[in-house]
């Protein structure tokens, strides 16, 4: 009893000591939207950073889903209680960029910390997506991913398909899906998460088709959608036709379809490279491949989220943020983050290290999204997609796709409606 009492006394004294010493420490807050295993990574990184030095302390706060976190940040900014760092998902990038006075560019923050931002150290495809047209990096890429193809090897075997060679083009995917369905190997051939991000935005970039004017919004905000052109209509008509007899199965607007694939209902699946963890965990006999294309591949664009720094804080706090970002950029940390979580590495050095370690020989799926993004110099169609109201435009697309898949309209009608409604919404948001 006595011993525990003394120990408790020490513990209390220690806590007291450490809280008083905290007055000298600059504390910064980090609002994020990571759940489950990814939340553990956030906690672990913050802990390691706090233990690695004694001047700064970062405290992560979970704020809900991506949209909820963005809303919490906006509400806090309006109430003048903004956090230092906020994690914003890809579709919110345009919203953040439009709020120029509210944010401090990450390139500027990093140079305040004494280590100027060196663009050449970072993966070009990712940095370009989070930079202004003049090349200034605005936010720090934290978790980036890109869509890839997954397939169920057991179902492929049963359907008599080549287990080691997944389909490369969309027409091969449609044929394989039909074969899976007709052979009875599985009740459905193909499913996909995110028809907006994967089958519209990445479909455009990967095939080098124009999604919208102004380099899809990267060059300027007054975008006109071009998704009612022939390749898009053809692609979605194919999906709609396959949906009629259940060869293609719709799961929902975001990641819901993953459950259908995990349940073994469908043989082929397109989903973010970040979804690999759950598929590995399920114990399925799976294979991966590059995202399918029509005739020739260009490069895919990143999804995921980046870290934004709010403006109007003290210089000390910016130094703390800079120190934290420098910590995150270290090769060891980035390589580990990439290997454990499946996010893309942000720096080239981390990619090279992972390669040198022989990690990709055992985990080829991890390298697919990097290869997809680094393959070719981006064209004006494949730098990314950016709108001040991308979530709203994605909503419009989802509504029209759902009506199309339910057989209420053709792909041409759906795409025409998207262009007409989307352009009106963009005009409204940018005026």
């Amino acid at each position: 009893m006595k011993v525990t009492g003394i120990a408790a006394g020490f513990a209390a004294a220690f806590t007291f000591y450490s809280t008083t010493s905290a007055f000298a420490v600059t504390e910064i807050s980090w609002w994020h939207a990571m759940t489950g295993a990814n939340n553990e990574v956030v906690e672990q990184l913050s802990k390691e950073f706090n233990e690695s030095q004694s001047d700064y302390k970062v405290s992560p706060v979970f704020k809900g889903t991506y949209p909820e976190t963005l809303n919490a940040g906006i509400a806090a900014f309006r109430a003048k209680q903004a956090p230092n760092i906020i994690q914003v998902f890809d579709a919110g990038t345009g919203t953040m960029m439009a709020a120029e006075g509210a944010m401090k560019p990450v390139a500027e923050v990093l140079s305040m910390g004494g280590k100027p931002f060196d663009k050449s150290q970072y993966l070009p495809g990712i940095v370009a997506y989070y930079s202004k047209p003049d090349g200034t990096m605005l936010s720090f890429p934290y978790n980036s991913s890109s869509p890839i193809l997954y397939y169920n090897k057991d179902i492929f075997q049963k359907a008599g398909l080549d287990v080691d060679n997944p389909p490369k083009t969309w027409s091969e995917v449609w044929d394989a899906a039909k074969k899976i369905k007709s052979s009875g190997a599985a009740p459905c051939g193909f499913t996909s998460t995110w028809l907006t991000w994967i089958h519209t935005e990445n479909f455009a970039a990967w095939n080098n088709y124009q999604w919208g004017t102004q380099e899809n919004g990267i060059a300027g905000p007054n975008v006109e959608l071009k998704v009612n052109s022939e390749p898009f209509v053809k692609h979605f008509q194919a999906l709609a036709d396959l949906a009629k007899d259940g060869t293609f199965k719709y799961g929902g607007r975001t990641s819901e379809a993953k459950q259908i694939f995990l349940a073994g209902e469908c043989g082929i699946f397109t989903e973010s490279s970040g979804g690999l963890g759950d598929i590995v965990k399920s114990g399925m006999n799976y294979g991966t491949g590059m995202l399918p294309y029509d005739t020739e591949s260009q490069n895919t664009i990143p999804g995921g989220a980046s870290l934004w720094v709010f403006g109007g804080k003290s210089e000390e706090e910016y130094k703390a943020v800079a120190a934290f970002f420098n910590f995150l950029s270290q090769t060891d940390i980035q390589a580990r983050l990439h290997q454990v979580s499946g996010y893309l590495p942000v720096t080239l050095a981390a990619y090279e290290k992972t390669k040198a370690d022989g990690f990709y020989e055992k985990n080829p799926a991890r390298e697919i999204p990097i290869k997809q993004m680094m393959g070719k110099e981006p064209t004006e169609n494949s730098k990314g997609v950016r709108l001040p109201n991308l979530p709203q435009v994605r909503d419009i697309m989802n509504e029209e796709y759902e009506k199309m898949l339910a057989g209420q309209q053709t792909a041409q009608q759906a795409m025409d409606n998207i262009v007409q409604r989307g352009n009106a919404a963009i005009k409204e948001a940018t005026q």
Binding site: P67, N71, A99, G101, A102, P391, K403, A429
Partner: protein
């Protein structure tokens, strides 16, 4: 005649109502006035640039075909939910009233679902009817029904109506049981002696005497279907497929919190506020006139 209550102290009565007034001011009038002000602004999400536009947001909202669609959706949803939950509750109440043995047990069990939070009720129904894993969805498919609420708007509507109505049955049941108990047994017995059958007794005596309760519940259920079903819709359909289950309240959320168009969203919530005030006024007028019925 009730005697008039007279407070000799001039200040005390105001002090006594002050806490309630303060709460109303802080939690109702202040946010409501903010919403009113916001509904006449057009601004970016961060509030960096804002412009006072008078009633432009209202004009825009009311001429938006999606808003008209949302009104229709809300009407269908509210009427179906109110009717379904009230009819089911009335049948259960009449049945439970006839039970002699373990009457309290039945009543308690029937009141239970009211304690379930809307979002959880939504998830329950979602699981039961999930096209891939739901047990009831499996049964429906077995019966030859192409069940796919993810793409079929009418099925999605059926699903949210059932979830919303199921949750409200307990509440309605409670009021109907109380209403049934207030009906003098002598009336029913007299009718029985005159040879009226059970169904006849119900339609000519019980149902008319329950009218005040029914009307009260109709208003309460409509308000419920309008405003308290957000959690269910959010969990089950998210307003989809298309815009098939996007009710007025869900649209306020979607435009304000997902699409960040604060002016439109505020204008819609002001319109909703007017609707609630109207519904409450109807209820008050009615309750004042009819509460002493019979």
């Amino acid at each position: 005649m009730t005697p008039r209550v007279v407070f000799p102290n001039k200040i005390l009565p105001y002090l006594l109502v002050a806490p309630q007034l303060a709460i109303t001011l802080v939690f109702f009038y202040w946010p409501a006035s903010q919403a009113l002000y916001q509904s006449m602004l057009r601004e970016d999400p961060f509030g960096l640039k804002s412009q006072f536009v008078w009633f432009d947001n209202f004009k825009k909202v009311l001429s938006d075909p999606n808003y008209i669609n949302s009104i229709e959706v809300t009407a269908i949803f509210s009427i179906s939910t109110a009717m379904l939950s009230m009819v089911a509750a009335l049948i259960l109440a009449v049945m439970a009233d006839k039970v002699v043995r373990s009457r309290n047990l039945y009543r308690t069990l029937l009141i239970w679902p009211y304690a379930v939070a809307p979002a959880i009720a939504g998830m329950l129904w979602l699981f039961l009817f999930n096209p891939s894993i739901g047990s009831l969805a499996y049964a429906l498919r077995w019966m030859g029904i192409a069940w796919d609420p993810l793409l079929k708007g009418d099925q999605a509507m059926v699903l949210v109506v059932m979830a919303a109505a199921w949750k409200q049955i307990s509440y309605n049941f409670l009021f109907f049981v109380a209403g049934l108990q207030a009906i003098p047994k002598a009336l029913i017995e007299a009718a029985a002696i005159d040879g009226a059958r059970e169904l006849k007794r119900f339609w000519t005596i019980v149902f008319p005497l329950l009218a005040p309760t029914t009307f009260f519940l109709l208003v309460v259920n409509t308000v419920y279907a309008f405003f308290d079903t957000f959690g269910i819709i959010h969990a089950v359909t998210g307003g989809g497929p298309g815009k098939a289950t996007e009710t007025l309240v869900y649209k306020v959320y979607n435009d304000g919190f997902v699409n960040l168009i604060l002016g439109d969203s505020a204008a819609q919530s002001v319109i909703l506020m007017v609707i609630v005030i109207a519904l409450t006024a109807v209820q008050f007028r009615y309750v004042e006139r009819k509460v002493h019925y019979g």
